[in-house]
């Protein structure tokens, strides 16, 4: 439970979820403060994506609640939800040759009337989102023909065009080379500087230390650990969470943490 209930933008309380018989998440609680940039880490298959989808409202928790500014996301209507939370997915497959600008414009869907096209404020939001994610120069390129790093930035621009209060990112650094990873972290810093609250699941633990205000470690069969990076990224906790003997990986060497 949060120590500062007044400043928590996101408050997940005892959320559980499962697919059929299989329980994926059991009694998960976490908070994300307004304006912070937070990492969600944990081993493969532990339910990071499921947790993000619960928070985005794509899934409903079986038990517990996901509160945004104290209101249950599950009770939001569809469009209200789309204006409050944006989830940038790992994978985005587009069957047709939409341009980057056309893709980012889709982020305005929750603001448009049934028949109305984009109005001036929608255009401005699209420009703002593209500029922030640094894809303005790619505007007329076909999305499918972009590189992995460029696609990632376009997906973030699409999320930003929703003008959400909370931006969720599912493995934004996956499949990027080191240079693109650093670029992406710079982008997250920049967004944080502009007041965007971010919760990102991150696969690569090397990228977590020093880059996030807080870290949530999701481990199978354990309670979620939350705290500053140096408190969560300890060899003991990581070894326990990832089921890997201490000393078998550079990050798990007691003195070898590369922060």
């Amino acid at each position: 439970m949060t120590a500062f209930p007044g400043v928590a933008l996101l408050d997940v309380r005892g959320a559980s979820f499962g697919y059929g018989e299989r329980r994926v998440l059991e009694d998960v609680s976490l908070t994300v403060k307004q304006g912070s940039c937070v990492a969600l880490i944990g081993p493969n298959g532990v339910g990071k994506t499921t947790l993000l989808r619960l928070i985005s409202g794509a899934l409903r928790p079986l038990h517990g609640q996901v509160l945004l500014r104290g209101e249950a996301v599950a009770d939001f209507d569809r469009r209200q939800r789309a204006r409050a939370v944006a989830l940038v997915p790992q994978q985005l497959d587009v069957p047709f040759e939409f341009t980057v600008e056309q893709i980012v414009e889709q982020g305005r869907s929750p603001y448009l009337g049934r028949l109305r096209g984009l109005r001036r404020e929608d255009r401005e939001a699209v420009e703002w989102a593209m500029e922030l994610a640094d894809v303005t120069g790619l505007r007329d390129r076909v999305f499918n023909e972009l590189s992995g790093g460029e696609k990632q930035r376009v997906k973030i621009a699409l999320g930003l065009a929703q003008e959400p209060e909370l931006l969720l990112l599912d493995e934004p650094t996956q499949n990027l080379d080191i240079g693109r990873q650093v670029e992406l972290l710079d982008l997250l810093h920049c967004l944080r500087g502009r007041g965007v609250t971010i919760l990102a699941s991150i696969h690569d633990l090397h990228l977590v230390a020093g880059n996030f205000d807080a870290v949530h470690l999701l481990a199978p069969g354990h309670r979620l650990r939350s705290g500053a990076a140096e408190d969560v990224l300890t060899p003991e906790l990581l070894a326990e969470a990832f089921g890997c003997a201490p000393g078998r990986h550079p990050l798990l060497m007691p003195a070898g943490r590369n922060a």
Binding site: G57, R81, A82, P95, F96, F98, Q102, Q106, S109
Partner: protein, 333 residues
């Protein structure tokens, strides 16, 4: 763009109305239609109004309806290979039409033959069946829908061949059925043509507000849902309008494949994938395409007329194969 296509469509209609067993001067047709002097003589007028124009306009309606329903289904299934033929709507409409030809050939309603009405019911019922089969746990997978549609459609369209073999009315019915299966645009009654044009316009108007949502659906169901789109409702709307348009086309021209595939695809290659922009372009281009093809079908080997559906297969088949080879590189499924 729309203006150019509109002018081309008018020219195509005039040209098509002028050629045939009796040649009518284009200038005379234009003057007659506009009610000016210097038009056609009485016999020519009869040919124009009773034979040529109804058929040419019917082919325009069929082309527009097929092309737009192709656009809708391709967008819905996020698959450039989809068309009303492939997902079963045409097969259902064809079976309905055959039932009517064989059992209810005398019945008419509002100028519609039983054939047209049964074609319509067949298309809508088939799509409802396909949709129900493909739906599980409140969701409908695009690929599942496509496969279910293909299976149901193939079963239905093949079962219509049985009417050719076991026809209770003898050779006459069998010949009409055969014409239906191969796609021949008949000469509709004025009332039927008017209602069909009205329904086509209604379908286009209903489709228009769905086009922007179809763009969002291209990002995938879950993403579209996240962007505030009512995915299932949009899907049902698209299927209803698409089936309506398919049924209209089948009720006038029988089973014509490939038209619904080629037109939207070429339009998308030229103008990009924005459905809002594509809708009117595809409707006009589809109308032009079928007016031209049907004119060729009845004049190429005159006095023998080949079914427009067969001619379309010879144009569409190679195009589809070209598409297949091209898409192997572009779309990873």
């Amino acid at each position: 763009m729309l203006l150019v296509l509109g002018v081309v469509l008018i020219l195509a209609v005039l040209l098509s109305a002028s050629v045939g067993a009796v040649r009518l001067p284009m200038r005379g047709i234009a003057a007659t239609v506009l009610g000016r002097v210097g038009g056609l003589d009485d016999m020519q007028r009869t040919i124009l109004f009773a034979v040529r124009l109804p058929r040419v306009l019917a082919s325009a309606v069929v082309g527009a309806a097929l092309a737009v329903s192709g656009l809708l289904f391709q967008g819905l299934f996020r698959n450039p290979m989809a068309d009303p033929y492939i997902i079963g709507a045409s097969g259902g409409a064809g079976l309905g039409a055959c039932l009517a030809i064989v059992f209810f050939s005398e019945v008419t309603f509002l100028g519609f033959s039983a054939t047209a009405l049964f074609a319509f019911a067949g298309a809508v019922l088939t799509m409802a069946l396909v949709y129900t089969l493909a739906r599980s746990r409140g969701r409908t997978g695009g690929i599942t829908l496509l496969l279910a549609g293909f299976a149901v459609g193939t079963m239905l369209s093949n079962s219509t061949y049985l009417f050719e073999v076991f026809d209770p009315n003898g050779t006459q019915g069998a010949r009409i059925v055969a014409a239906w299966l191969h796609g021949v645009i008949g000469i509709p009654r004025p009332q039927q043509l008017a209602i069909t044009v009205g329904l086509l316009s209604a379908g286009m108007l209903l489709a228009y507000p769905l086009m922007r949502r179809l763009n969002t659906l291209a990002l995938g169901d879950e993403y579209a849902d996240q962007l505030g789109i009512r995915v299932e409702a949009t899907r049902v709307g698209i299927i209803l309008v698409g089936s309506l348009l398919t049924a209209l086309a089948v009720s006038l021209g029988g089973l014509i494949s490939f038209a619904g595939l080629i037109v939207p695809h070429v339009a998308r290659l030229l103008l990009g994938p924005d459905h809002v922009r594509l809708l009117p372009v595809v409707a006009l281009a589809g109308a032009i395409f079928l007016v031209v093809t049907d004119t060729l079908a009845r004049t190429l080997f005159a006095p023998t007329e080949i079914p427009v559906g067969i001619l379309m297969v010879f144009i569409g088949g190679p195009f589809f194969l070209w598409l297949l080879r091209k898409s192997k590189r572009e779309y990873a499924l």
